[in-house]
């Protein structure tokens, strides 16, 4: 009797585990209905998370309701691990049918044959004409004569400043710095020290994002030559970029540090102590950092996390003697991985997402940009009244039309390259090396890796 009871218990437990793990049970009701109707299920991996992914789901729901043949199953994979997961899936012949990615990853994956070119699908569809897009957005997906993705959103960087901090420092809260000289003077006035520790910082070029490559472009330099080789070591503008960033860190062995320079260890402690980026403790919101180079998404973030913050936005200051430019980067793009089992259905969704709604209404893609306050990569979309009626957002839009837009080149090793620049920037700040030597080392390292890859894959531009 006892043995019988034990066996019954084991069987019941097994049944419960099986029921819990049975795949049909894991999906939602709408998907079960779609399966019953015999629709094609499309796997969509989203690079976005949080409220940005939620908004994507709202639009995907709209698509699913409009359909009787296709059903999109969306999954938020997140920015950090999407590369690793996508690679594993492609290598295992089980990729998603659709994927959203950072454009820097796109260049890397396209060069390795991981993505499907899309021009066959796009043919003659006016929605996807090159002229519709900002040039930097188009260049981020059009590589080696093929189009590897459709830009969903793009970003542009401006100078954000805390007006209250300006008032306390005796600066005019309505007049941001316009030149690099002014930026440095303001940074000095806005930095509050208590002995060796920093209470408030005026400006740190690599806070919140290290953008050494981007600053190099703003200084009038270039990262690659026409053959796609790294040239940063021989570019005076890049050297100046490094020197400028280094000048924010005081040299302990020098008596002639600029007044805005800070102790590098104190700066490191300060930046590591700052609160989470997407929270009320973001250093800009909490008044720890008075000025920073930031993107247009802050127009949604600030009202959400710091509704009482009095802030302004203006185009980035310009280094002396250089044409005023603006950083446009990166793009988030939709692409179809090679090995997708339903590329036509995946394209049907892309076509729906990026086309105007019946009757000429705005495209779901522009709704998406509006909901998360990112810049639309298509010029006509971003000029919609709903975008430009917000005076702060309009600053970001206007600068894209007024200034020359610079962006990172779409080279296969761009992630490797920018990571190495970031690493060397840190070494320069801590005076482990000189700007020139750091850039030469980066150049050699990137070109050596390019050379290695070129021996096996044709990476010529």
């Amino acid at each position: 009797m006892k043995t019988f009871l034990i066996w019954m218990a084991v069987i019941c437990c097994g049944a419960v585990v099986f029921a819990a793990l049975w795949p049909r049970q894991a999906v939602g009701g709408a998907e079960r209905r779609a399966l019953a109707e015999g629709r094609t299920i499309i796997q969509y991996w989203d690079r976005h998370q949080g409220h940005e992914h939620d908004m994507r789901l709202v639009l995907i729901d709209e698509f699913n309701r409009s359909q009787d043949k296709i059903y999109i199953r969306a999954l938020s994979v997140g920015f950090n691990s999407i590369m690793e997961k996508l690679l594993t899936a492609i290598a295992g012949s089980a990729p998603p049918d659709l994927c959203s990615l950072e454009s820097t990853m796109l260049a890397q994956l396209a060069s390795q044959g991981c993505l499907m070119p899309l021009e066959g699908f796009m043919a003659s569809n006016p929605e996807f004409a090159q002229d519709n897009y900002f040039p930097h957005a188009w260049e981020s997906v059009a590589i080696d004569g093929h189009v590897w993705g459709i830009p969903t959103t793009t970003d542009v960087y401006c100078l954000l400043w805390n007006k209250n901090a300006f008032r306390i420092a005796g600066l005019d809260p309505e007049r941001p710095p316009r030149t690099f000289d002014e930026l440095q003077q303001y940074a000095e006035k806005l930095t509050i020290r208590d002995g060796d520790t920093l209470e408030q910082v005026g400006f740190i070029p690599w806070q919140p994002w290290d953008m050494t490559g981007m600053w190099g472009l703003i200084f009038g330099g270039r990262l690659c030559d026409e053959k796609g080789n790294a040239v940063c070591g021989n570019e005076p503008a890049l050297v100046k970029t490094m020197e400028w960033q280094q000048s924010f860190a005081a040299d302990p062995n020098s008596a002639n540090n600029p007044p805005y320079a800070m102790d590098p260890e104190a700066m490191s402690s300060f930046t590591r102590s700052l609160g989470a980026y997407m929270s009320a403790n973001n250093p800009f919101y909490s008044g720890k950092v008075a000025m920073m180079a930031e993107g247009e998404w802050q127009v949604t973030f600030i009202p959400k996390y710091a509704p009482n913050l009095d802030w302004g936005v203006a185009p980035l200051p310009t280094p002396e003697g250089v044409e005023p430019m603006v950083m446009g980067w990166p793009c988030v793009v939709d692409c179809i991985p090679r090995g997708s089992r339903h590329p036509n259905e995946a394209w049907a969704y892309i076509k729906w997402f990026y086309s105007s709604r019946p009757g000429g209404g705005p495209s779901p893609a522009s709704d998406y940009c509006y909901a998360i306050h990112n810049i639309c990569p298509r010029k006509k979309d971003v000029l919609q009244e709903r975008f430009t009626s917000n005076p702060k957002f309009k600053v970001f839009v206007d600068v894209l039309f007024d200034r020359k837009v610079v962006s990172l080149p779409s080279m296969p090793l761009i992630q490797f390259y920018t990571d190495e620049l970031e690493r060397q920037r840190e070494r320069v700040v801590f005076r482990k090396t000189t700007p020139k030597a750091a850039l030469m080392e980066t150049q050699q390292k990137v070109n050596a890796e390019l050379e290695r890859q070129r021996r096996f894959v044709d990476l010529s531009p």
Binding site: N80, M83, E84, L87, T88, I90, A91, Q108, Q112, G113, C114, G195, D196, T197, E265, A266, S268, S269, F270, T271, R272, S273, L413, Q415, F416, D419, R423, E426, R427, F430, K432, A448, E449, R452, Q453, R455, F456, V457
Partner: protein
């Protein structure tokens, strides 16, 4: 082999077959494949191309970051493993006293071991926060301005070593078991000889614990040479500041999954394997001189 034995063998293999299949497929095959890939240019999606010793050559002669990461990992191991041993033996001795509520104390000291590594890393990020962290807050109370800990180039590795001591609970439990194995008669004999407490510890407890010490030493060595999750979480996978926390496995991971240099990463993995193998063998060979087993 009789018919009976053959049937037993077949049944035995049949029962063990899930493990054997899993081992061959998911352990042995990847290990052998990674050795092959280490001699290839390989990025997962394209077929591997044979390049001979090039990956190893590049690691040894063209990659200062490889040496830096190796240095960081060896530095960490050299301090965290012996310190961990000292702390876990010390704790085990303390928790081996006959005091009321001892099981509660034992549980308390073991608890950190079962906290997931990611959670404890985030927790330590707060504790070590240079401005608002617990440690610097307490130091400030007594008038000391604490270092930048994980944010400082010079303090980042010591911070991680300090943090590793938080997880000595596992080794401590094994030492507790080892202490229980020490025969009381030896202590009684030592008492008759007039040994002091220190002499009993030095000449009875430690020699009798040497098998446990060897086990914990080998396990600690293997684990700390593969130290990854904590630095990955605490530095966002960057090994900052100034490469001071760029540990070997983190650099390996970056090469494989950030830059698709799987062949290069496989070569790194095999070098690490050789380092671990050599260190473990050296310990096992030397153990003949310093490890005492019961009855020997």
């Amino acid at each position: 082999m009789t018919r009976h034995e053959r049937r037993d063998l077949r049944n035995g293999l049949l029962f063990a077959s899930p493990y054997i299949a899993g081992f061959l497929l998911f352990t042995l095959y990847p290990v052998v494949a990674s050795l092959y890939y280490s001699f290839c240019q390989y990025n997962v999606v394209r077929p591997p191309a044979w390049i001979g010793w090039e990956n190893y050559y590049a690691l040894f002669f063209d990659d200062p970051q490889f040496w830096k990461s190796l240095y960081n990992t060896l530095y960490f191991t050299a301090f965290s493993v012996p310190l961990g041993l000292v702390f876990s033996i010390g704790l085990a001795m303390l928790l081996n006293q006959k005091v009321r509520g001892m099981s509660v104390y034992r549980t308390v000291f073991f608890l950190p071991t079962i906290v997931p590594i990611v959670a404890s890393s985030v927790l330590w990020l707060w504790v070590l926060n240079p401005e608002s962290g617990l440690i610097n807050g307490m130091l400030r109370q007594i008038g000391i301005e604490g270092p930048g800990w994980i944010a400082s180039e010079h303090w980042s590795k010591p911070s991680l070593i300090l943090m590793s001591l938080w997880g000595v609970g596992g080794a401590m439990v094994i030492f507790l078991a080892g202490l229980a194995e020490v025969p009381q008669t030896l202590y009684e004999a030592a008492d008759i000889d007039g040994a002091s407490r220190w002499m009993k510890f030095r000449h009875v407890t430690v020699p009798m614990l040497t098998p446990t010490i060897l086990f914990n030493l080998v396990m600690g060595l293997i684990n700390s040479l593969q130290y990854f999750t904590q630095v990955y979480v605490m530095t966002g996978g960057k090994g900052t500041p100034v490469d001071s926390t760029m540990f070997y496995p983190l650099y390996l991971y970056r090469n494989s999954f950030y830059y698709l240099r799987m062949g290069y990463a496989s070569a790194m993995a095999w070098l690490l394997f050789l380092v671990i193998l050599a260190a473990t063998l050296a310990l096992l060979v030397s153990s003949k001189r310093w490890v005492h087993y019961h009855g020997e």
